[in-house]
């Protein structure tokens, strides 16, 4: 018998966080991306405040979903007690700034609170990525390549949603938003491939399978369709709004699919392993 180097029960899927927690990452990323897009690309164009308000609603929806997952929801304020080491606490603080500056921007229409809200939104989504990475018990989450993906997908989803909503809410999108969208979609696929490679080195086979299944959507739905849509938009200005809207929705759907897979399909622990077996009896 070939001597094995490690022995142990196989990893199993975590059950501590369910769809409610995944919703926090899904809506949180989209909301922050939408807020960034509204503040940086649409203000002071008509309708940017609606986009910003929708971003706030999305972030709030995510936090509301995770609130329902707490075992002691009425103690939620205790989440603020450990800014020294907990990325969950830092996420909560960042959300406070997002809502404070975002609400001020929506209420007043002023640009500076919108920019500050966008900065806070970037901090928020960064904290979300670090929350996952700090979960040391989940090999597919604790890789540093996860952060660029979570941040870029938030931006891609938010910008994509803004492009989809712009014709109705903001009278269309400035032409260079499409260029930014294209750049962030390309950046996201790079981040995804880097993440997939890193996660695959550590994660359980079933976790890898879950990520690879989602990866196909990130490639086709989240990259190919938006890139084609952006190309059509640049080549045919007459249909640019529709093309970018479709590309934006595709990018949004792919981001949601990927985050769902990361939290709920790739959340396998590493099981237990013995580097050596007990030596019993006579030698």
């Amino acid at each position: 018998m070939k001597p094995p180097t490690e022995f142990g029960p196989r990893p199993w899927q975590q059950t501590s966080w369910d769809a409610r927690a995944a919703t926090n990452f899904i809506l949180g990323g989209t909301g922050t991306g939408l807020l960034v897009a509204a503040a940086c690309f649409f203000a002071p164009q008509a309708g940017w405040r609606v986009l910003a308000a929708l971003g706030l609603v999305s972030v709030a929806g995510g936090l509301g979903a995770v609130w329902f997952e707490l075992g002691r929801p009425w103690r939620f304020a205790n989440v603020a007690l450990n800014p020294r080491t907990s990325w969950m606490t830092r996420e909560a603080y960042a959300s406070g700034f997002v809502f404070a500056f975002g609400a001020a921007a929506v209420a007043t229409g002023a640009a500076w609170p919108a920019w500050l809200a966008a900065l806070a939104a970037l901090a928020f989504v960064y904290c979300q990525s670090r929350m996952l990475r700090a979960a040391k018990g989940i090999p597919a989450w604790r890789v540093r390549e996860l952060t660029p993906f979570i941040v870029t997908t938030g931006l891609a989803e938010g910008t994509g949603l803004a492009l989809a909503l712009a014709p109705a809410l903001a009278g269309g999108a400035p032409r260079w938003v499409g260029a930014f969208f294209l750049a962030v979609v390309v950046g996201r696929i790079g981040a995804w491939l880097a993440y997939l490679g890193a996660a695959s080195r550590h994660a359980a086979p079933r976790a890898r399978a879950g990520l690879e299944a989602a990866g196909r959507h990130v490639v086709v739905l989240g990259t190919v369709i938006p890139v084609v849509a952006a190309a059509v938009a640049f080549a045919l200005p007459a249909v640019a709004a529709v093309a970018l809207a479709l590309g934006g929705l595709a990018a949004l759907a792919a981001g949601w699919r990927a985050k769902h897979a990361i939290v709920l399909r790739a959340g396998f622990n590493q099981g237990f392993a013995l580097p050596a077996l007990p030596v019993r009896g006579a030698r």
Binding site: F7, P9, P73, L81, A134, N269
Partner: protein, 216 residues
């Protein structure tokens, strides 16, 4: 300094689960919550099959990831190395359960009973403060503290020793002060080859697994 630690002699453990039962009795954990478990690992293929019984639970790490991620500071580490949970602070976010590489943490949201309806002992020992919050092995910290206050020595005197260690029929589990060079734990580590679970993660577990003599 004192650093409470446990050794598990994998050569001695027979997988009887007495430690599991003792823990559940001592700590009144509900069905589905096992602060002390014994894994039954089977390795290889017939006829070259090896088997190992591996008691696991909270490793009371030197650098506990559960403590770092805890947003409420409910999880703390005492100076003597024991990782504790303040049930009154915990919000039940279960983040610690994901951060723990040893699957040592549980959250029960409602009372659970072995036979559906509560038996009188289950009813008497139900602690609603432990519902909806994270729970895990405490190294029987109350016994240790009470024992020390009474002048007893943890790992030597049963009154000051974790229930699982007291109950172990083969003395596979031992407990003591890692920093005491004359102590039982330090002695076992000096005379045996050992490892800690998932050492590569840098958590510094306080549970050591012995698997052979040092001169083996």
């Amino acid at each position: 300094m004192t650093r409470w630690a446990m050794t598990v002699d994998l050569r001695r453990c027979v997988g009887c689960q007495t430690c599991t039962a003792a823990c559940r009795t001592a700590n009144a954990t509900p069905p589905g919550v096992q602060w002390r478990r014994v894994l039954d690992m089977e390795v290889g293929e017939y006829p070259e099959v090896r088997r190992a019984f591996v008691p696991v639970g909270c490793m009371h790490c030197d650098d506990p990831p559960c403590m770092h991620v805890c947003p409420s500071t409910a999880t703390r580490k005492r100076a003597d190395g024991i990782v504790t949970i303040d049930y009154d602070l915990c919000i039940g976010c279960a983040y610690c359960a994901l951060a723990c590489p040893y699957q040592a943490r549980y959250r029960a949201d409602e009372p659970r009973y072995a036979y559906g309806e509560p038996t009188p002992p289950e009813e008497a020992r139900l602690d609603r403060g432990r519902l909806g919050v994270a729970t895990k092995c405490t190294f029987c910290v109350e016994r240790i503290d009470a024992g020390l206050a009474a002048g007893k020595t943890p790992g030597v005197d049963p009154e000051a020793t974790p229930a699982c260690v007291n109950s172990c029929i083969s003395q596979a589990l031992q407990f003591g002060d890692l920093d005491d060079p004359q102590g039982k734990v330090a002695g076992l580590l000096a005379t045996h080859r050992h490892f800690r679970m998932h050492e590569e993660l840098g958590t510094g577990p306080g549970v050591y697994y012995l698997w052979d003599r040092a001169d083996g």
